[in-house]
Amino acid sequence: MREECDAMPKKVIQKFEVKFLEILGENGTCDENIKPQISSKVLLEMYKWMFLGRVFDNKMFSLQRQGKLGTFAQTKGHEAVQIGAAFALKKEDWLVPYFREQLITLIRDVPMENILMYYTGDERGQQYQKGWNVLPVCIPVATQLLHAVGMAWAFKLKKKKNVVLAFCGDGATSEGDFHEALNFASVFKVPVVFLCQNNQYAISVPLKKQTASETLAQKAIAYGMSSLKIDGNDIFAVYKGVKEAVELARKGKGPSFLECLTYRVTDHTTSDDASRYRPIKEVKIWEARDPILRLRKYLEKKKLWNKKKEGILYQDVQKKVNTAVKKAENVSAPSFEDMFRYTYKEMTAELKEELDYLKKVKNDEK
């Protein structure tokens, strides 16, 4: 906050506030009056997706440690954000992820084996199909946000009702592209919702070193955008917050920014070692606030869930995950020709020449 340097009276011409949305308490209690309208059936579906996401993530981690998978960023701990958001969207809405959203892309019908292939370095895993409505993994931080704005802009120009949901991390809010995206979105009033997974770290850099702002939500206010901070481990709050924002966007009322507060309980990626820069005590505190556990406690209180059901679900999900792992493992290796195929729609003469050269090299090596 700005320190006042003299006593000269100044008029207040603008005032801002940042609101925080929380619904489901840590021990699974909640005020049913403010809980979003979600049927028991859908609630259970949400829970199952979160659970699947966790099992799949654990599996990916163990495959990585066995050397069967390359580096990847775990989704663990981000399940309420991703599933809450996914259920607030319509099928025709678009998703623009960064690189920590395996779970939400699964809901978009991206098969698990594709994700596994991609993270073994087989790019055929990114062969996107019509109707998935999701852009590929985006690694350069914050750059994807502008694409989301452009897509939303196109939907507006074409008078379509699709909304675009774009993800970013807390670290991303420091990049220029983040600010340019928010500004364009507001200036052109396009149907985009920015969802920031504030997991409090950008690799080793904690949020307080990333920004001097008290919240990330307030950054959006500067762009004239509706903005909200949400308990990101609370699936009801995420669902409600995203639903409201998406509906505003769909009605032509402009973009929103949602800061979902959560915690990266894992290393940044499988190449990172978080014990170098943060105390395990802090991690333990957040592990206890696990978003899946929280929903489970609620479901148990409502007699919708029990140990037995959990056991059956675990078996079922394990089976699905293992089938996907087998499928991915049985895929034959990609051919070197694959490297030349997608540079342009039509392979250029010079690329053909390079490919012919490589074919000859491979042939001679035989």
């Binding site: 390359g70 580096t71 990847f72 690189f99 991609y118 073994t120 370095g121 087989d122 790019e123 993994v137 690694i139 350069p140 931080v141 750059t143 670290g171 991303a172 420091s174 990049e175 220029g176 592209d177 950008a202 690799i203 080793s204 850099v205 070193k209 990333q210 920004t211 190449s271 990172d272 170098r276 820069y277 290796a333 990609p334 070197f336 694959d338 490297m339 030349f340 997608y342 540079t343 010079e350 690329l351 390079e354 490589l358 090299v361 001679d364 090596e365």
Partner: protein
């Protein structure tokens, strides 16, 4: 003398320069508490404190842009960009300002800064973590570009880069970071920028390479040294380019193979061939052959070794020029 890896040699150079000159700062993403994702800045925070070893917000334009200001105002920033593929948000600052400040101010201001970044493939990394885009930077007038391939060169070149009066991009071959060790003198020494090194003398053919590809090139030569007398040149600094060493060698051998991992078209090899044509054409006994990456997007892990110049491709080229 200690046997050091490239990462350790870089770390040692940074330590020594920071100790020698209080205006030297290290800044970048995760360079402080974490010691850098490759650990190149490990231990510096403890030695020099958080005013000189700075974990910045996640912003390459911020890192390079403020480094320019720091440099103009008398500091010596050594910025780390986590991977060369993430320089681009700061590319505008590099090309439009760092490299032009001296020209724009008619020599009144300068930008003695260093941007360090790991480059090239071969570590099974994610997208944007494996490219060799050095030719882009070679195109920037006012920027120097250094690419070491050994631990002792890395140390001596980095010290020269830090003391250089102009902006220097220092690209570090990441797959070699820990792949080799050699004796690196503890005492201070400088390797001048703009001088290439004759790694091995020979008279049948000149092989020119630098950075990441030096490793495969050396392996290829080890398999051919009995057959041919090969002169091997490590370019070390691609801007400015020491063509004198290359030309002298080609005049002697009459044959030349150039190896680099960056894309083929308008790559460094193209420039070296042009200079050979200008200065040694009549000495050539065979067309010069280049072994390079392709004009495709750098593939991910499963295909990266189809892209990277391999020992077999390098050997094939040497056979080709010698058999001509």
């Amino acid at each position: 003398m200690a046997k050091l890896s490239i990462v350790e040699a870089i770390n040692l150079a940074l330590r020594q320069e920071m100790k020698r000159d209080k205006s030297v700062l290290v800044l970048g993403e995760d360079v402080g508490v974490d010691g850098g994702v490759f650990r190149a800045t490990e231990g510096l925070l403890k030695l020099f404190g958080k005013e000189r070893v700075i974990d910045t917000p996640l912003s390459e334009s911020g890192i390079i842009g403020t480094s320019i200001g720091l440099a103009i105002a008398g500091m010596k920033p050594v910025a780390e960009i986590q991977f060369d593929g993430f320089i681009y948000p700061g590319f505008d600052q590099l090309i439009s300002h760092a490299a032009r400040m001296r020209t724009r101010s008619r020599g009144a201001y300068s930008c003695p800064l260093v941007v360090r970044a790991p480059y090239a493939g071969g570590i099974k990394a994610l997208e944007h973590h494996s490219e060799s885009m050095e030719a882009l930077y070679r195109h920037i007038p006012g920027l120097k570009v250094v690419i070491p391939s050994t631990p002792s060169d890395a140390k001596g070149l980095l010290i020269s880069a830090i003391r250089d009066p102009d902006p220097v991009l220092f690209l570090e071959p990441k797959r070699l970071y820990r792949a080799l060790r050699e004796e690196v003198p503890e005492k201070e020494y400088l390797i001048p920028l703009g001088r290439s090194k004759i790694v091995q003398e020979g008279s049948d053919v000149t092989v020119v390479s630098y950075g990441a590809s030096m490793h495969e090139t050396k392996k290829a030569l080890a398999e051919l040294n009995e057959k041919f007398s090969i002169e091997l040149i490590d370019v070390r600094t691609i801007s400015p380019l020491d063509d004198e060493t290359i030309i002298t060698s080609v005049k002697k051998t009459g044959r030349c193979v150039i190896v680099h991992e960056g894309p083929r078209s308008c790559g460094l090899a193209a420039e070296i061939i042009a200079r050979i044509n200008e200065k040694a054409l009549l000495s050539l006994k065979a067309p010069v052959v280049r072994v390079t990456g392709f004009d495709t997007v750098m593939p991910l892990a499963k295909l990266e070794w189809e892209y990277i110049p391999t020992v077999s491709r390098i050997k094939k080229a040497i056979f080709e020029v010698t058999a001509f």
